[in-house]
Symmetry: none
Subunit: 417 residues, 2 copies
């Protein structure tokens, strides 16, 4: 079944509000086996809204209309659809009561224009709004079902979860299971990943294979349809195995999740701790490692040794190393890791020093980064990178690369002690 989402409101067309409802409803529809094929945003303009509704009526069986259900004059969604379908709006006593209770509960008089919100489609469905005054509505004609939802997310989301999802399941139970499995990659570009799997992508349409570039890393998604969920997973399994056979070294998770969360989970599962010494990443590595709840179990802390002074005085990097090799060098990365290991006494220490840009440092080029990995025992392993892009991108790539290096180490179980 084909569905589409129409969001209504001039604030969307002025760019004052980012439309998150279309993505939310699309995810929900996907999980219900309903395919969303278009998103459209239109302003509070009756003629343009009518144009969009006519077009949706021609091409979809389920149409979500979000917003424009309020009490004010520029709220036109319900009225426009009523005109288009030729289905009158009638006053619903139950909604009137709910409205009056809502305002009484807030010891406020009900503004007369609010009674407009008690108008519902004749023989239509009404969804009670537990968090606002505009009820949701559903109405069908010519094999097309319209679901009207209030604009504010705090009203739309609970209404969808508690009332609309069950309604859609009852109305459109498709008897088909749609299953989607993701693989998360780092260290391989989207085009190289697709190149590597080109024959699989072209040869298969169930599962469909698609790649998505993320700010750092790439996601590959396999989506299959079948009569049952297990049948769909059986279609995915062999292809997934083949993809991993070709690209497994770069795959850090068989789910869609950030690299740093996988690292923290591995550390916690293995009962290991980590501390960091950051220069060019300026705190971003620590920030990534503490973005997940419970990170305090494995992340002990770190030092942002942004200045040469702090590398020497706070961390204790020997002056001669800084003078002979410079702050951006494998020797400094090594010394940072060694000294911070002494201070934090963790199982692992990651150190990062480099040139985030836009200007070079000590004659070293922008994007040159050294990452050190120190384990409880054994020497520091230092990795040299030449990154590209903006300052923020170099910082992010360096921090993510440090996470990837630690994750590879944890994966291989190379941990000493």
């Amino acid at each position: 079944m084909r569905a589409e989402v129409i969001t209504v409101g001039s604030e969307l067309l002025l760019g004052e509000t980012v439309d998150t409802h279309s993505a939310y409803l699309s995810r929900e529809c996907f999980s219900l086996g309903v395919e969303v094929v278009f998103h459209t945003s239109v302003g509070d303009d009756q003629a343009r809204l009518m144009e969009v509704i006519e077009q949706a009526h021609r091409r979809s069986q389920l149409v979500f209309l979000c917003g424009g259900l309020g009490p004010t004059l520029d709220d036109l969604t319900k009225e426009t659809l009523s005109d288009f379908l030729g289905i009158p709006l009638v006053r619903d006593p139950a909604v009137v009561t709910a409205l009056e209770e809502w305002f009484q509960g807030r010891s406020r008089n009900i503004p007369s224009n609010n009674y407009k919100q008690a108008h519902v489609f004749e023989d239509g469905v009404v969804f009670h709004n537990a968090h606002g005054t505009a009820p949701g509505l559903a109405v069908s004609k010519d094999g097309v079902t319209y679901v009207l939802l209030p604009g504010p997310p705090r009203e739309l989301i609970p209404m969808f979860e508690q009332q609309v999802r069950p309604y859609i399941l009852d109305t459109f139970a498709s008897g088909q299971a749609l299953v989607s499995e993701a693989l998360s990659f780092f260290g391989i570009g989207e085009s190289l990943l697709e190149e590597t799997c080109k024959d699989l992508i072209e040869a298969n349409d169930n599962p469909i294979i698609a790649t998505y570039a993320k700010e750092a890393g790439v996601t590959l998604r396999l989506t299959a349809r079948a009569a049952t969920e297990s049948a769909a997973r059986e279609l995915i399994a062999p292809i997934k195995t083949e993809v991993l056979k070709r690209t497994g070294d770069y795959c850090y998770s068989e789910r869609e999740e950030p690299l740093e969360e996988v690292v923290m989970r591995s550390l916690i599962q293995q009962g290991k701790t980590v501390a960091v010494a950051e220069s060019c990443t300026g705190g971003m590595l620590s920030h990534l490692l503490t973005s997940m709840k419970g990170s305090s179990q494995a992340f002990m802390g770190g030092i942002v040794s942004y200045s040469a002074f702090s590398k020497e005085q706070v961390v204790g990097v020997p002056e001669e190393i800084l003078e002979q090799h410079g702050t951006v060098s494998s020797h400094t990365a090594e010394a940072l890791a060694e000294r911070v290991r002494e201070q934090f006494a963790t199982d692992f220490v990651l150190s990062v020093t480099g040139v985030a840009g836009p200007d070079e440092v000590e004659g070293k080029p922008v994007g040159l980064v050294f990452i050190g990995l120190k384990e409880a025992s054994g020497p520091v392993r230092v990795y040299r990178l030449q990154l590209r892009g903006s300052r923020r991108r170099i910082q992010l790539q360096a921090a993510k690369q440090a996470c990837f290096i630690l994750q590879q180490c944890l994966k291989k179980g190379e941990t000493t002690r």
Copy 2:
């Protein structure tokens, strides 16, 4: 002139990605005097993309197409538009060179499918992509201009700002000057800011006054139209003065810019240095303060003392303070600032300790945060906050609040020494 934005990509229809480009481009168009009347998202499906392009061709004079310019098989935007307009794609030697340099610069071989990105419209315009491999394109037919932009925000936004905005101004210069001036606020909510300026907002339509809630802080924008730029600025000036008279304490910049950049600029201008001691913000404060180029002039570094062990052993917070008052306390915030000041010898030290959540710590509620500000001489001033929201939001609000406290201090010139 009427414009619309079409975003292309199955990840949008699956709800995996929220479309932020439509809002971004709509804001930009508004500031250029171009009215955006529709947003449409469509998947990587040639027939549906063709349908959307045909419809846009009928009703708009400027059409943005975002995404689907990549090297992969499901990238169809350019090819579909070429079919629709009957304008062939030709290989552009300059783009070929740029592509080869891009991959050489990364010491990688160019995957053969990437050459697809060197195909541009015959007699069309090419926008160089400084942050990726897909160039932007512009082509016109039947009085409709199409602007094709790459999907990743880090590629689209700089391309728009540096090349597409000037192109649109040249191509569609409306003969009217449209001037927009922004004020950046922190510590006041959007609704309170709007309430405070309600009469001004209602009484004025030139300049238009609008508020925009940001992830942290609020922006107020005054936009005026006039025959000349100076005439437009004269319309804005008195209203802006009145807004500042009412809300000046919360205004940290008369431009739209992040708080942390204003702080770093003030420090650099006053020749002062800062270091930080972070607990619950886990590196985010350091990360904010190093996000701007040149921050090494003023930011000396910091310690992320995430564990009690590191507070005591690495920073040197006295054991009895941690035992008597807990790690989340004004005493600990004070001690963190004092000790880090001793280690980094900076003009200022900011310290942050609190409960980011989701679970409470030492019986202290989620969102309780203490921020310490230490100057070269004088005692530590400690501020107590009770923040609300998700873990990430609490971390961000705490880090931004620390920046605001330092900025207020720098603004008042309260600096000692």
